[in-house]
Amino acid sequence: MNYVPGTASLIDDIDKKHLVLLRDGRTLIGYLRSIDQFANLVFHQTVERIHVGKKFGDIPRGIFIVRGENVVLLGEIDMDKPCDTVLQQVSIEEILEEQRLQQQAKQETDKVKMQALKDRGLSIPKADNLDEY
């Protein structure tokens, strides 16, 4: 029952499985149990899903409370649809390892890039992602 017809409200999403992408890049999947006026979310049986390439790994996290401002997007997961057809699930250790490698590779390329730029006298200022000042 939609309490506010014609609008988008999270009330109808309660007790359904959702995927939420956070501002720090994490992907959480869990049952949305409770909300509030700031769209703070309470997730139950949360799993953090890490994607590296075609692989992904799930880390069970339990109960999560996500502050509303940190949510990028939130979507309901259709339980009937088959999932993970392309992606291959691996163990947590493996995916964390993969992630680490990915981070490492990225850092390497970044370093090389910065060095190249420095050599040419250019610099790209680091984007400030944080709101903290």
Binding site: V4, P5, S9, P60, M79
Partner: protein, 795 residues
């Protein structure tokens, strides 16, 4: 208008039902404790000291003994008496279990001395107590003392308790906990009958009970207690200190307390509970006491076997699924059960597993937990609920070999999660065929958010949509919506009358919620009172807003009046100078007189000019005159000015006056000072020529009906009479008066007489003075009869 509640109040201080007061019982309980039967006239400070002191000493020992006395669970650690303890079953085998209990408890005295695994026992005891709501709140009063003797006595007490409970159990399996526990309570109180034995258990008791438990005790009320034991009263009076801090047991303890503890952190005697609930507070959930307390205050040293929870038939809404699962959870699936046994293990096994996890005890057996059957519990995605009674016996073992050890750099997982993780990996391809609806119907965690809470959130969202001017606040939405509706009307055929639900946003009338501080009327300045609602203003300026039109009009009026006043002032100052000229002239020395004279001349001319329409024209600016005369001071001014004006101009002024007499009379209603003008006007009249006089009379008569108004006004009547009397004088004195030359004068007089006769006496205003020669005037023109009438009127 779609509103949930009245939304305009910011503070809900007055809302009694939203406060922390849960129901009448609690209030009465407090009241009772403070003033009523519950209050004991002891020196509570002494009591508290004693209890606190004792608690420090015996805290540990008490808990150990507690653990020992509770379940015999201590023995499990040594694994020596596993057989005994594991024979304890759930409610289905209650009589058996009770007997076993007595057995194990009889072995207790030896165990009590075995303090080897003291800490472990303590933790174990805690786990058990917390995990099992069956113990909750029941044995709160029963804490055996540190000494074995007292423990023995308490044991015997417990045994004594147990036995009466035994026959009741088989019949009571399907019933919820409550009826079991309550009958037990009075019996709990009885053993520590005399105060001497009652007090020693007090301190350990107090040490073990958390605030919640204490609350539970209090809430139970005095009713179930057969006697008002000193122990309980002391507890109620003093309040129990908090449970000593948990060290490593927090992670294991799975108290899912969805209901937050009561807010007050002070004991019963202390500050009153906070009532104010700000609007951001979610609705308070009603608690059903018994059920909640049983679940959330697992404390007792209760020997009885657990009874319930295996198949909670109607799912109580507020029962935490976690708790239920913990109760029902049997971590040991490799226990020595026959497969037919229910999946619910007793607390012992539960404690065993948990303890093993805590202690890092390597177990060959522990596989994934056996999930309870009654609920469609799906701990993690992809993990299906196992079929009834199904055991994952072999697979865990197989998997154990190649289940990789969990890395250190992964976050520290909850042991249950670890279990779930491994279990999930095994049972991956499980049951996915179940529909979402089916799943939801058996989801024990559904409806964690109550209807009330949903409505509360929606209410807040609706409040945010309130708007006094929707087209101002949300122009694009309004337009879009209108377009959509039009399109829908066009597209939908008229036959099907389906209306999609529309959101009607609340439209609130704009209400000024300004808080105005107290002001005293007629006092200078304001009280300097500043509060949160009324912060001190930097600049205390009062803004009066008026609409543009009104403002313009008002402004115009004011401007005009101001201008008139200004003109009057200026003229007055000039006039005063002119009037003072004589005096000054006399006093001034010879050389200055010239200058003075000059100045006088300019002044007079200026004065004259101010009244004139144009500089050369003798005609007086009517409007100006009337304007000036509309002000009281202006009339005064004119009356003083007239003597100084040159005679043509003076005559013109008098003409203007008589011409506009009705208007002037109207304006003068408030002031009633037109009569100031009589003297100067009469002086002017007397200097008039006959033709001018006639003109004047004509002016006075003016348009139709003016004469009536004139007669109504005192000044008008006086003026009229003055004119007439002057005319008469002219005629009588000067034989070759030109007054009769044209018929105007005669006609005018005739009209005057007519008017005088027609006008009723009441509306004829008495003049300031009556010139004597009027009658003779009238006698010239009217016959005897009318003359007599006139005479009457004029008297």
């Amino acid at each position: 208008m779609f509103r949930f509640q009245s939304l305009d109040e910011d503070c809900t201080l007055e809302e009694e039902d939203e406060g922390l007061v849960e129901d009448e019982d609690e209030i009465d309980q407090f009241n009772d404790d403070t003033f009523g039967a519950g209050a004991i006239d002891d020196d509570w400070q002494e009591e508290h000291k004693r209890l606190a002191g004792l608690e420090d000493k015996d805290g540990l020992g008490a808990e150990l003994a507690l653990g020992g006395g509770g379940m015999g669970g201590e023995s499990d650690l040594g694994a020596a008496q596993t057989s005994t303890s594991t024979h304890l079953h759930s409610a289905g085998h209650a009589p058996l279990s009770s007997l076993k209990f007595s057995l194990s408890s009889s072995e207790l005295p030896s165990d009590v001395d075995d303090r080897g695994g003291g800490d472990l026992a303590e933790s174990l005891a805690r786990l058990i107590l917390e995990a099992d709501p069956a113990i909750a709140g029941v044995g709160a009063a029963e804490r055996p003392g540190p000494s074995p003797s007292s423990s023995r006595s308490s044991l015997s007490a417990l045994q004594g308790l147990n036995r009466p409970g035994v026959p009741a159990q088989p019949s009571s399996i399907p019933h919820p906990i409550q009826p079991h526990q309550h009958p037990q309570h009075p019996q709990h109180e009885l053993p520590p009958g005399p105060s001497a034995s009652g007090l020693p258990p007090g301190p350990p008791l107090s040490s073990m009970l958390s605030y919640q438990q204490q609350q539970h005790l209090l809430r139970r009320g005095t009713a179930p207690m057969a006697q008002d034991s000193p122990l309980m009263s002391i507890i109620k009076e003093v309040g129990l200190p908090k449970r000593p801090p948990q060290s490593r047991n927090d992670e294991v303890r799975d108290l899912s307390e969805r209901v937050p503890p009561p807010r007050s952190s002070s004991p019963v005697i202390g500050s009153p509970p906070v009532r104010a609930v700000p609007i951001g507070t979610p609705p308070k959930q009603p608690m059903s006491h018994a059920l909640n307390h049983q679940i959330h205050h697992p404390t007792a040293v209760h020997v009885r076997a657990p009874v319930q929870h295996r198949y909670p038939p109607p799912f109580p809404e507020r029962v935490s699924p976690n708790t239920l699962l913990n109760i029902a959870n049997s971590p040991l699936c490799r226990g020595p059960f026959p497969p037919g046994v229910g999946t619910v293990l007793s607390q012992i096994q539960h404690a065993q597993l948990l303890n093993s996890q805590v202690a890092g005890f390597p177990r060959g057996g522990p596989g994934p937990p056996l999930l309870p059957v009654g609920s469609g519990f799906r701990p993690f995605f992809g993990g299906p609920p196992p079929p009834l009674g199904h055991r994952m016996g072999p697979p865990p073992h197989g998997h154990l070999n190649h289940t990789p050890p969990i890395r250190h750099n992964t976050t520290h997982l909850h042991p249950q999660h670890r279990r779930m993780l491994t279990q999930r990996m095994q049972s991956r391809g499980g049951d996915r065929g179940r529909t979402g609806g089916d799943r939801r119907s058996r989801d024990p965690y559904s409806n964690l958010m109550t209807q009330k809470e949903k409505e509360w959130v929606t209410k807040i969202q609706m409040m945010q949509l309130q708007s006094t001017d929707p087209y101002l606040d949300d122009y694009y939405y309004q337009n879009y919506y209108e377009k959509m509706e039009k399109r829908q009307d066009r597209e939908s055929d008229s036959s099907k009358k389906e209306y999609t639900t529309k959101l009607i946003t609340p439209q609130v009338a704009k209400v000024e919620h300004t808080y105005r501080p107290v002001q005293f009327a007629g006092s200078l300045g304001k009280l300097t009172v500043s509060s949160v609602n009324n912060p001190r203003k930097m600049i205390d300026a009062v803004v009066t807003t008026r609409t543009d039109d009104e403002e313009k009009r008002e402004k115009q009026v004011w401007n005009k009046r101001r201008q008139i006043l200004y003109t009057v002032e200026k003229m007055y100052s000039m006039l005063l100078e002119v009037q003072d000229f004589e005096k000054r002239f006399v006093q001034a020395p010879e050389e200055d007189r010239e200058a003075l004279l000059e100045r006088h001349k300019t002044n007079t001319t200026q004065l004259c000019n101010s009244l004139r329409e144009k500089e050369w024209d003798n005609r007086v600016n009517d409007e100006q005159c009337v304007m000036i005369m509309s002000v009281r001071k202006g009339k005064r001014l004119i009356s003083r000015l007239l003597p100084f004006l040159p005679s043509p101009q003076a005559a013109a002024v008098v003409m203007a006056i008589s011409r506009n007499l009705p208007a002037l009379a109207k304006k003068d209603k408030q002031d009633q000072v037109l009569c100031w003008l009589v003297e100067p006007v009469s002086a002017v009249i007397q200097s008039l020529s006959s033709s001018t006089l006639t003109d004047l009379l004509q002016e006075l008569q003016g348009s139709e009906g003016q004469l009536a108004t004139v007669l109504h006004n005192k000044f008008g009547v006086t003026l009229l009479y003055l004119i007439l009397s002057e005319g008469e004088r002219m005629q009588s004195t000067d034989p070759n008066c030109q007054l009769m030359d044209d018929n105007r004068w005669t006609e005018l007089v005739f009209s005057v007489t007519r008017e005088l006769l027609s006008v009723p006496s009441s509306s004829l205003s008495p003049p300031l003075f009556m010139p004597p020669n009027l009658l003779s005037l009238f006698s010239r023109y009217v016959d005897r009869q009318r003359l007599d009438l006139l005479q009457d009127k004029l008297q």
